[in-house]
Protein backbone atom coordinates (compact mmCIF):
# COMPACT_ATOMS: atom_id res chain seq x y z
CA UNK A 1 0.00 0.00 0.00
CA UNK A 2 2.50 2.65 -1.06
CA UNK A 3 -0.06 5.00 -2.50
CA UNK A 4 -1.09 6.72 0.78
CA UNK A 5 2.56 7.37 1.57
CA UNK A 6 3.42 8.97 -1.71
CA UNK A 7 1.68 12.32 -1.09
CA UNK A 8 3.37 12.67 2.33
CA UNK A 9 6.79 11.94 0.86
CA UNK A 10 6.11 14.34 -1.93
CA UNK A 11 5.08 17.04 0.56
CA UNK A 12 8.27 16.60 2.57
CA UNK A 13 10.32 16.70 -0.57
CA UNK A 14 8.63 19.93 -1.66
CA UNK A 15 9.00 21.50 1.78
CA UNK A 16 12.71 20.59 1.83
CA UNK A 17 13.18 22.07 -1.58
CA UNK A 18 11.42 25.26 -0.52
CA UNK A 19 13.61 25.52 2.60
CA UNK A 20 16.77 25.00 0.54
CA UNK A 21 15.67 27.61 -1.94
CA UNK A 22 14.90 30.11 0.84
CA UNK A 23 18.27 29.48 2.48
CA UNK A 24 19.95 30.03 -0.85
CA UNK A 25 18.03 33.22 -1.44
CA UNK A 26 18.99 34.51 2.02
CA UNK A 27 22.65 33.73 1.34
CA UNK A 28 22.50 35.48 -2.01
CA UNK A 29 20.77 38.50 -0.44
CA UNK A 30 23.31 38.73 2.37
CA UNK A 31 26.20 38.43 -0.04
CA UNK A 32 24.67 41.06 -2.30
CA UNK A 33 24.30 43.51 0.58
CA UNK A 34 27.90 42.96 1.69
CA UNK A 35 29.19 43.46 -1.82
CA UNK A 36 27.11 46.61 -2.22
CA UNK A 37 28.33 48.04 1.06
CA UNK A 38 31.94 47.25 0.22
CA UNK A 39 31.55 48.86 -3.20
CA UNK A 40 30.10 52.05 -1.70
CA UNK A 41 32.85 52.25 0.89
CA UNK A 42 35.57 51.57 -1.64
CA UNK A 43 34.18 54.16 -4.03
CA UNK A 44 34.12 56.76 -1.27
CA UNK A 45 37.69 56.03 -0.21
CA UNK A 46 39.10 56.02 -3.72
CA UNK A 47 37.10 59.10 -4.70
CA UNK A 48 38.35 61.07 -1.74
CA UNK A 49 41.89 59.98 -2.43
CA UNK A 50 41.82 61.00 -6.07
CA UNK A 51 40.05 64.27 -5.30
CA UNK A 52 42.86 65.10 -2.87
CA UNK A 53 45.58 64.11 -5.29
CA UNK A 54 44.46 65.79 -8.48
CA UNK A 55 45.40 69.47 -8.93
CA UNK A 56 42.45 71.62 -9.92
CA UNK A 57 39.90 69.67 -7.94
CA UNK A 58 38.32 71.71 -5.19
CA UNK A 59 39.29 70.79 -1.70
CA UNK A 60 36.64 70.54 0.97
CA UNK A 61 36.84 73.56 3.22
CA UNK A 62 37.71 71.51 6.22
CA UNK A 63 40.64 69.81 4.59
CA UNK A 64 42.51 72.92 3.53
CA UNK A 65 45.12 74.29 5.85
CA UNK A 66 46.73 77.59 6.64
CA UNK A 67 50.40 77.34 7.24
CA UNK A 68 52.12 74.02 7.06
CA UNK A 69 52.76 70.79 8.74
CA UNK A 70 56.39 71.82 9.11
CA UNK A 71 55.78 75.03 10.98
CA UNK A 72 57.70 73.87 13.96
CA UNK A 73 58.01 77.32 15.45
CA UNK A 74 54.34 78.14 15.51
CA UNK A 75 53.47 76.50 18.76
CA UNK A 76 56.51 77.93 20.48
CA UNK A 77 56.20 81.35 18.92
CA UNK A 78 59.11 83.39 17.64
CA UNK A 79 62.35 81.69 18.58
CA UNK A 80 65.19 83.46 20.39
CA UNK A 81 68.82 83.34 19.33
CA UNK A 82 71.30 81.29 21.29
CA UNK A 83 72.86 84.47 22.59
CA UNK A 84 71.48 87.99 22.86
CA UNK A 85 73.28 90.87 21.15
CA UNK A 86 76.23 92.13 23.20
CA UNK A 87 77.58 95.65 23.12
CA UNK A 88 80.98 96.15 21.61
CA UNK A 89 83.27 99.12 21.14
CA UNK A 90 84.94 97.60 18.11
CA UNK A 91 84.30 98.81 14.58
CA UNK A 92 81.36 97.16 12.83
CA UNK A 93 81.77 94.59 10.10
CA UNK A 94 78.32 95.21 8.65
CA UNK A 95 75.21 97.24 9.32
CA UNK A 96 71.55 96.61 10.04
CA UNK A 97 69.00 99.21 9.09
CA UNK A 98 65.82 99.67 7.14
CA UNK A 99 65.87 99.17 3.39
Amino acid sequence: MPLPEQPAAADRSVRDAVRRRERGLRRVGTTTRWVAAAAVAGTAVLGAGYAHALPGVALPTGSAAHGSGTRTGTSGGLQPAGQAPAPTAQAPQTQSGAS
Binding site: H66, G67, S68, A84, P85, P87, T88, Q90, P92, S99
Partner: protein
Protein backbone atom coordinates in the same frame (compact mmCIF):
# COMPACT_ATOMS: atom_id res chain seq x y z
CA UNK B 1 90.48 94.68 -0.88
CA UNK B 2 90.02 91.90 -3.38
CA UNK B 3 87.57 90.84 -6.01
CA UNK B 4 86.01 87.43 -5.99
CA UNK B 5 85.66 85.30 -9.05
CA UNK B 6 81.90 85.73 -8.78
CA UNK B 7 82.19 89.42 -9.43
CA UNK B 8 81.27 90.90 -6.11
CA UNK B 9 83.46 93.44 -4.45
CA UNK B 10 85.16 92.11 -1.41
CA UNK B 11 87.27 93.44 1.39
CA UNK B 12 90.40 91.51 2.17
CA UNK B 13 90.83 90.13 5.65
CA UNK B 14 92.48 92.59 7.95
CA UNK B 15 94.94 90.09 9.34
CA UNK B 16 97.60 92.73 9.58
CA UNK B 17 95.41 94.87 11.77
CA UNK B 18 94.47 92.26 14.26
CA UNK B 19 95.72 89.08 15.80
CA UNK B 20 92.48 87.52 14.65
CA UNK B 21 91.68 87.18 10.99
CA UNK B 22 88.82 89.40 9.97
CA UNK B 23 86.10 87.89 7.78
CA UNK B 24 86.06 88.52 4.05
CA UNK B 25 83.33 90.85 2.84
CA UNK B 26 81.46 90.74 -0.45
CA UNK B 27 78.97 93.42 -1.45
CA UNK B 28 76.61 93.41 -4.41
CA UNK B 29 73.06 94.33 -5.40
CA UNK B 30 70.26 91.81 -5.19
CA UNK B 31 66.51 91.68 -4.58
CA UNK B 32 66.29 95.44 -4.97
CA UNK B 33 68.65 96.11 -2.13
CA UNK B 34 72.22 95.55 -0.99
CA UNK B 35 73.53 92.07 -0.26
CA UNK B 36 76.52 91.66 2.03
CA UNK B 37 78.29 88.39 2.67
CA UNK B 38 80.79 87.95 5.50
CA UNK B 39 82.82 84.75 5.53
CA UNK B 40 84.83 83.97 8.65
CA UNK B 41 87.44 82.05 6.67
CA UNK B 42 88.44 84.33 3.81
CA UNK B 43 89.80 81.39 1.86
CA UNK B 44 86.24 80.05 1.54
CA UNK B 45 84.63 83.36 0.56
CA UNK B 46 84.29 82.55 -3.14
CA UNK B 47 82.48 79.31 -2.49
CA UNK B 48 80.14 80.94 0.00
CA UNK B 49 79.41 83.72 -2.46
CA UNK B 50 78.43 81.28 -5.19
CA UNK B 51 75.95 79.65 -2.83
CA UNK B 52 74.49 83.01 -1.81
CA UNK B 53 74.08 84.13 -5.41
CA UNK B 54 72.35 80.88 -6.34
CA UNK B 55 69.99 81.18 -3.40
CA UNK B 56 69.11 84.77 -4.21
CA UNK B 57 68.42 83.91 -7.84
CA UNK B 58 66.15 81.06 -6.78
CA UNK B 59 64.22 83.21 -4.31
CA UNK B 60 63.82 85.98 -6.88
CA UNK B 61 62.50 83.57 -9.49
CA UNK B 62 60.05 82.04 -7.03
CA UNK B 63 58.89 84.94 -4.84
CA UNK B 64 59.25 88.26 -6.68
CA UNK B 65 56.02 90.15 -7.17
CA UNK B 66 57.71 92.48 -9.64
CA UNK B 67 58.72 89.78 -12.11
CA UNK B 68 55.81 88.67 -14.28
CA UNK B 69 57.56 85.38 -14.89
CA UNK B 70 58.04 84.56 -11.22
CA UNK B 71 56.20 81.64 -9.75
CA UNK B 72 54.45 83.94 -7.28
CA UNK B 73 53.21 86.22 -10.07
CA UNK B 74 51.74 83.24 -11.87
CA UNK B 75 50.03 82.07 -8.70
CA UNK B 76 48.65 85.56 -8.07
CA UNK B 77 47.34 85.72 -11.62
CA UNK B 78 45.58 82.41 -11.06
CA UNK B 79 43.60 83.69 -8.06
CA UNK B 80 40.04 82.38 -8.03
CA UNK B 81 40.78 79.78 -10.70
CA UNK B 82 41.48 76.82 -8.47
CA UNK B 83 44.45 75.41 -6.59
CA UNK B 84 47.88 76.00 -8.10
CA UNK B 85 50.71 73.53 -7.47
CA UNK B 86 53.86 75.35 -6.36
CA UNK B 87 57.53 74.47 -6.02
CA UNK B 88 59.14 73.44 -2.77
CA UNK B 89 60.82 76.83 -2.45
CA UNK B 90 57.66 78.87 -2.95
CA UNK B 91 55.89 76.46 -0.63
CA UNK B 92 58.44 77.21 2.07
CA UNK B 93 58.05 80.94 1.49
CA UNK B 94 54.25 80.69 1.70
CA UNK B 95 54.49 78.69 4.91
CA UNK B 96 56.89 81.20 6.41
CA UNK B 97 54.54 84.06 5.51
CA UNK B 98 51.46 82.30 6.91
CA UNK B 99 53.34 81.40 10.06
CA UNK B 100 54.34 85.05 10.49
CA UNK B 101 50.70 86.05 10.09
CA UNK B 102 49.57 83.52 12.65
CA UNK B 103 52.23 84.46 15.20
CA UNK B 104 51.46 88.16 14.87
CA UNK B 105 47.70 87.73 14.82
CA UNK B 106 47.62 89.16 11.32
CA UNK B 107 49.82 92.21 11.87
CA UNK B 108 52.19 90.74 9.28
CA UNK B 109 49.93 89.48 6.52
CA UNK B 110 50.95 88.26 3.05
CA UNK B 111 47.59 89.30 1.58
CA UNK B 112 48.53 92.92 2.06
CA UNK B 113 49.71 93.04 -1.58
CA UNK B 114 46.70 94.87 -3.07
CA UNK B 115 46.85 97.40 -0.22
CA UNK B 116 50.49 98.16 -0.94
CA UNK B 117 49.72 98.50 -4.64
CA UNK B 118 46.78 100.80 -3.89
CA UNK B 119 49.13 103.05 -1.96
CA UNK B 120 51.36 103.35 -5.01
CA UNK B 121 54.02 100.71 -4.48
CA UNK B 122 53.03 98.90 -7.66
CA UNK B 123 56.47 98.43 -9.24
CA UNK B 124 60.05 98.18 -8.08
CA UNK B 125 60.91 100.82 -5.56
CA UNK B 126 63.47 102.39 -7.88
CA UNK B 127 60.63 102.99 -10.36
CA UNK B 128 58.27 104.23 -7.66
CA UNK B 129 60.86 106.70 -6.43
CA UNK B 130 61.58 107.90 -9.97
CA UNK B 131 57.98 108.85 -10.70
CA UNK B 132 57.36 112.41 -11.81
CA UNK B 133 56.17 114.88 -10.93
CA UNK B 134 57.42 114.39 -7.42
CA UNK B 135 55.87 110.97 -7.03
CA UNK B 136 52.43 112.49 -6.72
CA UNK B 137 49.29 110.89 -7.98
CA UNK B 138 45.70 110.77 -6.94
CA UNK B 139 45.24 109.36 -3.50
CA UNK B 140 43.60 105.95 -3.55
CA UNK B 141 41.29 104.82 -0.80
CA UNK B 142 43.09 102.41 1.52
CA UNK B 143 42.28 98.83 0.79
CA UNK B 144 42.28 96.51 3.82
CA UNK B 145 43.88 93.13 3.25
CA UNK B 146 41.67 90.15 2.54
CA UNK B 147 43.33 88.41 5.45
CA UNK B 148 45.70 85.49 5.59
CA UNK B 149 42.91 83.13 6.65
CA UNK B 150 41.36 83.43 3.20
CA UNK B 151 44.40 81.72 1.70
CA UNK B 152 43.78 78.03 1.11
CA UNK B 153 47.02 76.19 1.47
CA UNK B 154 47.56 72.45 1.35
CA UNK B 155 51.08 71.84 2.66
CA UNK B 156 51.11 68.13 1.89
CA UNK B 157 50.33 68.58 -1.79
CA UNK B 158 51.76 72.11 -2.07
CA UNK B 159 48.54 73.46 -3.52
CA UNK B 160 47.85 77.18 -3.20
CA UNK B 161 44.47 78.70 -3.84
CA UNK B 162 43.82 82.43 -3.57
CA UNK B 163 40.35 83.95 -3.53
CA UNK B 164 39.38 86.48 -6.19
CA UNK B 165 41.08 89.84 -5.81
CA UNK B 166 43.75 88.53 -3.49
CA UNK B 167 47.45 88.55 -4.25
CA UNK B 168 50.30 87.53 -2.02
CA UNK B 169 53.18 89.85 -1.22
CA UNK B 170 55.83 87.72 0.41
CA UNK B 171 58.14 90.76 0.51
CA UNK B 172 60.07 90.95 3.71
CA UNK B 173 59.57 87.40 4.93
CA UNK B 174 60.89 86.00 1.64
CA UNK B 175 63.97 88.19 1.86
CA UNK B 176 64.58 87.07 5.42
CA UNK B 177 64.04 83.48 4.37
CA UNK B 178 66.64 83.93 1.64
CA UNK B 179 69.13 85.19 4.24
CA UNK B 180 68.45 82.24 6.53
CA UNK B 181 68.65 79.65 3.78
CA UNK B 182 71.78 81.10 2.22
CA UNK B 183 73.60 81.47 5.54
CA UNK B 184 72.79 77.91 6.60
CA UNK B 185 73.67 76.38 3.25
CA UNK B 186 76.85 78.38 2.83
CA UNK B 187 78.09 77.70 6.37
CA UNK B 188 77.44 73.99 5.98
CA UNK B 189 79.16 73.88 2.60
CA UNK B 190 82.28 75.89 3.42
CA UNK B 191 82.69 74.76 7.02
CA UNK B 192 83.08 78.16 8.65
CA UNK B 193 80.95 80.99 9.95
CA UNK B 194 78.90 82.94 7.43
CA UNK B 195 76.77 86.04 7.80
CA UNK B 196 74.33 87.11 5.10
CA UNK B 197 72.96 90.64 5.20
CA UNK B 198 70.13 91.48 2.79
CA UNK B 199 69.18 95.11 3.08
CA UNK B 200 69.81 95.20 6.80
CA UNK B 201 68.24 91.83 7.61
CA UNK B 202 70.98 89.51 8.83
CA UNK B 203 71.33 85.79 9.31
CA UNK B 204 74.41 84.14 10.82
CA UNK B 205 75.30 80.45 10.75
CA UNK B 206 78.33 78.39 11.60
CA UNK B 207 81.18 79.30 13.93
CA UNK B 208 81.45 83.09 14.08
CA UNK B 209 84.77 84.93 14.07
CA UNK B 210 86.48 85.85 17.33
CA UNK B 211 84.24 88.24 19.24
CA UNK B 212 81.19 87.47 17.11
CA UNK B 213 79.78 89.36 14.15
CA UNK B 214 79.89 93.10 14.80
CA UNK B 215 76.83 94.91 13.51
CA UNK B 216 76.11 98.63 13.49
CA UNK B 217 72.47 99.54 14.09
CA UNK B 218 71.19 102.45 12.01
CA UNK B 219 68.00 103.84 10.51
CA UNK B 220 69.22 103.08 6.98
CA UNK B 221 71.06 99.88 6.17
CA UNK B 222 73.25 101.74 3.69
CA UNK B 223 73.71 105.00 5.58
CA UNK B 224 77.33 105.97 6.17
CA UNK B 225 76.65 107.39 9.60
CA UNK B 226 75.95 103.93 10.93
CA UNK B 227 79.63 103.21 10.93
CA UNK B 228 79.83 101.00 7.88
CA UNK B 229 79.80 102.54 4.44
CA UNK B 230 78.99 100.95 1.11
CA UNK B 231 78.32 102.35 -2.30
CA UNK B 232 76.61 99.60 -4.17
CA UNK B 233 72.97 99.79 -3.22
CA UNK B 234 70.91 99.22 -6.34
CA UNK B 235 69.26 102.58 -6.15
CA UNK B 236 72.59 104.38 -5.85
CA UNK B 237 75.03 102.51 -8.03
CA UNK B 238 74.97 100.05 -10.88
CA UNK B 239 74.97 96.40 -9.88
CA UNK B 240 78.18 94.44 -10.04
CA UNK B 241 78.46 92.41 -13.18
CA UNK B 242 81.52 90.44 -13.98
CA UNK B 243 84.95 91.07 -12.58
CA UNK B 244 85.45 94.62 -11.57
CA UNK B 245 88.40 96.34 -9.97
CA UNK B 246 87.68 97.51 -6.48
CA UNK B 247 87.34 101.20 -5.85
CA UNK B 248 87.69 103.10 -2.66
CA UNK B 249 83.97 103.93 -2.72
CA UNK B 250 83.07 100.25 -2.60
CA UNK B 251 85.08 99.47 0.45
CA UNK B 252 83.27 98.78 3.69
CA UNK B 253 84.65 101.53 5.84
CA UNK B 254 84.40 100.96 9.54
CA UNK B 255 84.02 104.17 11.41
CA UNK B 256 81.96 104.38 14.52
CA UNK B 257 79.32 107.04 14.18
CA UNK B 258 78.04 108.94 17.15
CA UNK B 259 74.79 107.67 18.54
CA UNK B 260 74.77 104.50 16.49
CA UNK B 261 75.32 101.42 18.61
CA UNK B 262 77.39 98.46 17.53
CA UNK B 263 76.45 95.03 18.82
CA UNK B 264 77.95 91.62 18.32
CA UNK B 265 75.91 88.52 17.57
CA UNK B 266 77.01 84.92 17.30
CA UNK B 267 74.10 83.18 15.62
CA UNK B 268 70.52 83.53 14.48
CA UNK B 269 69.03 86.60 12.90
CA UNK B 270 68.95 90.33 13.41
CA UNK B 271 66.53 92.50 11.47
CA UNK B 272 65.75 96.17 11.31
CA UNK B 273 62.62 97.64 9.79
CA UNK B 274 61.85 101.32 9.45
CA UNK B 275 59.55 103.88 7.96
CA UNK B 276 62.08 106.46 6.81
CA UNK B 277 63.93 104.76 3.97
CA UNK B 278 61.53 103.20 1.46
CA UNK B 279 59.18 106.18 1.22
CA UNK B 280 57.32 107.97 -1.55
CA UNK B 281 54.81 110.78 -1.91
CA UNK B 282 51.25 110.36 -3.04
CA UNK B 283 48.17 112.46 -2.61
CA UNK B 284 50.12 114.93 -0.50
CA UNK B 285 51.20 112.25 1.94
CA UNK B 286 54.49 110.55 2.62
CA UNK B 287 53.93 106.81 2.44
CA UNK B 288 56.12 103.82 3.14
CA UNK B 289 56.03 100.10 2.56
CA UNK B 290 54.92 99.03 6.03
CA UNK B 291 51.15 98.71 5.79
CA UNK B 292 48.62 97.80 8.45
CA UNK B 293 46.63 94.90 6.95
CA UNK B 294 43.56 95.83 8.97
CA UNK B 295 43.27 99.32 7.47
CA UNK B 296 45.22 98.97 4.25
CA UNK B 297 47.00 102.19 5.16
CA UNK B 298 50.34 103.04 6.70
CA UNK B 299 50.17 102.73 10.49
CA UNK B 300 50.24 105.85 12.68
CA UNK B 301 53.81 107.11 13.06
CA UNK B 302 55.08 105.87 16.39
CA UNK B 303 58.38 104.13 15.68
CA UNK B 304 60.99 105.23 13.17
CA UNK B 305 63.08 102.10 13.36
CA UNK B 306 62.76 98.76 15.12
CA UNK B 307 65.56 96.19 15.48
CA UNK B 308 65.08 92.68 16.86
CA UNK B 309 67.42 89.73 17.38
CA UNK B 310 65.96 86.22 17.13
CA UNK B 311 66.80 82.65 16.34
CA UNK B 312 66.39 83.30 12.63
CA UNK B 313 66.20 86.26 10.31
CA UNK B 314 62.61 85.31 9.51
CA UNK B 315 61.58 85.53 13.16
CA UNK B 316 63.51 88.76 13.66
CA UNK B 317 61.94 90.34 10.58
CA UNK B 318 58.48 89.15 11.57
CA UNK B 319 58.88 90.88 14.93
CA UNK B 320 60.20 94.16 13.53
CA UNK B 321 57.45 94.44 10.93
CA UNK B 322 54.77 93.60 13.48
CA UNK B 323 56.15 96.19 15.90
CA UNK B 324 55.86 98.97 13.32
CA UNK B 325 52.27 97.97 12.58
CA UNK B 326 51.31 97.63 16.24
CA UNK B 327 52.58 101.10 17.12
CA UNK B 328 52.05 101.87 20.79
CA UNK B 329 51.11 98.25 21.45
CA UNK B 330 54.49 97.06 20.20
CA UNK B 331 56.46 97.14 23.48
CA UNK B 332 53.99 94.91 25.29
CA UNK B 333 53.80 92.52 22.35
CA UNK B 334 57.57 92.35 22.03
CA UNK B 335 57.95 91.72 25.76
CA UNK B 336 55.61 88.80 25.29
CA UNK B 337 57.90 87.30 22.68
CA UNK B 338 60.92 87.60 24.94
CA UNK B 339 63.06 88.76 22.03
CA UNK B 340 65.70 91.47 22.52
CA UNK B 341 64.56 94.60 20.72
CA UNK B 342 65.54 98.21 20.14
CA UNK B 343 62.84 100.68 19.15
CA UNK B 344 63.47 104.24 18.02
CA UNK B 345 60.56 106.65 18.27
CA UNK B 346 59.93 109.22 15.59
CA UNK B 347 61.51 111.82 17.89
CA UNK B 348 64.70 109.74 18.10
CA UNK B 349 64.32 108.47 21.64
CA UNK B 350 65.33 104.85 22.10
CA UNK B 351 63.60 102.05 23.97
CA UNK B 352 65.56 98.85 24.62
CA UNK B 353 63.62 95.72 25.51
CA UNK B 354 64.62 92.34 26.88
CA UNK B 355 68.29 91.52 26.62
CA UNK B 356 69.05 94.20 24.06
CA UNK B 357 71.97 96.24 25.43
CA UNK B 358 71.47 99.91 26.18
CA UNK B 359 72.99 102.24 23.61
CA UNK B 360 76.61 103.05 24.45
CA UNK B 361 76.75 100.24 26.94
CA UNK B 362 80.29 99.18 26.08
CA UNK B 363 81.81 102.33 24.74
Amino acid sequence: MSTTSAGARTAAPASTRSAHVEPATAVFSALGTTAVLLTADPARADDALLILRAELAAIDAACSRFRPDSELSRANTAADTGPVPVSALLAEAVEVALRAAELTDGAVDPTVGPAVVALGYDRTFAEVAARLPENTGPATAPRPAAGWRTVRWDPALRLLRLPAGTTLDLGATAKALAADRAARRAAAAVGCGVLVNLGGDLSAAGEPPYGGWRVAIADDHAAPEGGWRIGTAEDHAPPCTGLQPPTTDDRPTPHTGPGHPVVSIRDGGLATSGTTVRTWRRGGRTLHHIVDPATGDVPPPVWRTVSVAAGSCVDANTATTAALVLGERAPDWLRGTGLPARLVRTDGSVLSLGAWPADGGDR
